[in-house]
Point group: C2
Chain length 329, copies 2
DNA sequence: CTGAAAGCGCTTACAG
DNA sequence: CTGAAAGCGCTTACAG
């Protein structure tokens, strides 16, 4: 109802002055300012941000897209992202792709139609090709996955080191036939973790067997098939590394219901360290990622970029610390 | 860069005509339309929605606030909500309160500053007092929790019936000392489920013991304390109903690590039916709620309300079906 | 069927 | 220190 014009009339000043006090312009005389402030309060006036945004050609909104929310891994990242946006005075729109291209397009359209100023892509929620077309027109930050050759900041953990540490833990316990259930897509994090895993094997003098590596989705049936597939080739397995807590929980489930041909003596180390790792039985030993911080830092980087003048500095990889949490598996 | 004005110039028409083809106004001559469409494509023009929104005084955006995302219960609701928004051509902003009043205020401010047109509150993400001040000025829908006396549509399951069915299942198995770990807040769903529980006891001739009921948060420590507190009073427990899957998983954890004084013979029925119920060991018997549909329907109702002319019809309770899924506990 | 013009509610040089 | 005025990029009666 009430617009800036009515406030101006009531306060006997111009709309310009009202706008100035709204924006805390120090130039307005205290007496004037107080009068206007009082009228604003009396009228319960709230500025129409639709108008402000148009005038300033800025929505002060960023978007974060994630593959889904079904994995608590992503909700923690989203939580950090939300906090960062508020700390910086931005709105944030968090969306999940659910593997649907049209949903992704909806969010990208927000960029193109001025509804959002920048975007962070979490995990592999976007293809490299699409990214290439976006990167020089819009501000984008990557979270969790790195795309070499793409000029966008990426916030992640040191996946190679993490893969190394996870494998070393199993080796330390005496496991030598270590399967690696990687993520379902060929991503930079998968590649890096495998590299680290190989390094740990190498260090321990254990031969690398490519047959022990396979990707799987975060679905019970898929994980079961993959593990049984490896066993079916006559491979032994006495240790497993999984790409996520969820996958590890499925391994446990399969062992328990005997649909996966492994004994419960198998060593199991998962990635992520979400609450899932603590509610399984046994609880999961895992590489815990600083999920909240990953989300928080990604959004901060994005907003810095939006506010930076040149923005032409080299975009790089920002690594956040992870750690191995030894639990029961 | 390119605005409607430049498209108009290139196409040798007025901006009014460009606007008309943009909005699919059937009045424009096909030849003109095609010419404009072609220029739009050539220039890769995208309308500035900031301007459109201001002009139309509508953001075509709704918000959904949830207490948090840490419980997969909420992420499923959010998933449904997102889908509904897209199906209806709206943007949706999904936010989590994390028990912080200032975050809630941020989202409510989006309503007041014209950034959003309506809001759905999930679970007890808002107090009744605040709701009362919002309800006659803005479009609001409640999801999961009902506030009697508040004129807002509410989408939920029949909690009384669900509580009844959950309790009856335990009674059917021969359990007679059934504890009820309710939600942490005094909410309509808690009250209704307890009513149903009482009804089942009554039907079976089992006396109701108020000492067997206690609220708990979705925290391991809290659930442990509550259960042990009941046992400490000298109460027996051979069955438990929990407000959430998460709480049930904590009971299981406590039994396993012997920090909760219960045997694994205890009957356990949880509410929600999220993936948590399937990854615990044993898996959880639970009342599964149509989470996705709850979110989807809530947003649909909200948008209908926004689009409805009068909007003065009586707001009511919309009940969606649930069912009992018997698993291992 | 199309165009000229007003206006959505703000912000911000510019002048005083 | 304050105001008049232009303008952000659209939409939409109104006139023709």
């Amino acid at each position: 109802m009430s617009s800036i014009k009515e406030v101006a009339k009531q306060a006997h000043v111009s709309v310009a002055t009202v706008s100035r006090v709204l924006n805390n312009d120090p130039v307005v005389k205290p007496a004037t300012k107080n009068k206007v402030l009082q009228v604003i309060k009396e009228m319960n006036y709230k500025p129409n941000l639709l108008a402000k945004n148009l005038r300033k050609q800025a929505s002060r909104t960023v978007v974060m897209v994630l593959p889904s929310m079904s994995n608590p891994y992503f909700s923690e990242i989203a939580r950090g992202a939300q906090a960062a946006a508020y700390d910086k005075g931005y709105n944030i729109i968090i969306g999940t792709i659910e593997s649907k291209r049209w949903i992704l397009d909806t969010y990208i359209n927000m960029l193109k139609t001025n509804l959002a100023e920048g975007i962070v892509f979490v995990s592999s929620s976007v293809s490299k090709e699409l990214l290439e077309t976006l990167v020089d027109e819009y501000s984008v930050v990557l979270c969790t996955e790195y795309y070499p050759g793409i000029n966008a900041a990426c916030v992640a953990i040191d996946n190679k080191k993490a893969g190394y540490e996870a494998a070393r833990e199993l080796i330390r316990r005496g496991h030598t036939h270590i399967a690696y259930i990687a993520g379902s897509s060929a991503s930079s994090s998968v590649a890096a973790r495998i590299e680290g895993y190989k390094e740990a094997l190498n260090e321990a003098g254990i031969p690398f067997r490519p047959e022990l590596i396979a990707g799987a989705k975060n679905k019970f049936e898929h994980v079961k098939e993959i593990v049984n597939g490896i066993l079916g080739q006559g491979m032994q397995i006495d240790g497993i590394l999984t790409h996520s807590d969820l996958q590890a929980s499925y391994v446990l489930k399969g062992i328990k219901e005997k649909s996966i041909g492994l004994s419960d003596e198998v060593g199991l180390v998962s990635f992520d360290g979400t609450f899932v790792a603590e509610i399984t039985n046994p609880t999961l030993t895992s590489i815990v990622q600083p999920l909240y911080d990953l989300g928080y830092t990604s959004v901060c980087k994005l907003i810095e970029k939006l506010q930076g003048e040149s923005g032409d500095e080299e975009e790089g990889l920002i690594l956040l610390p992870h750690h191995l949490e030894v639990r029961e598996t």
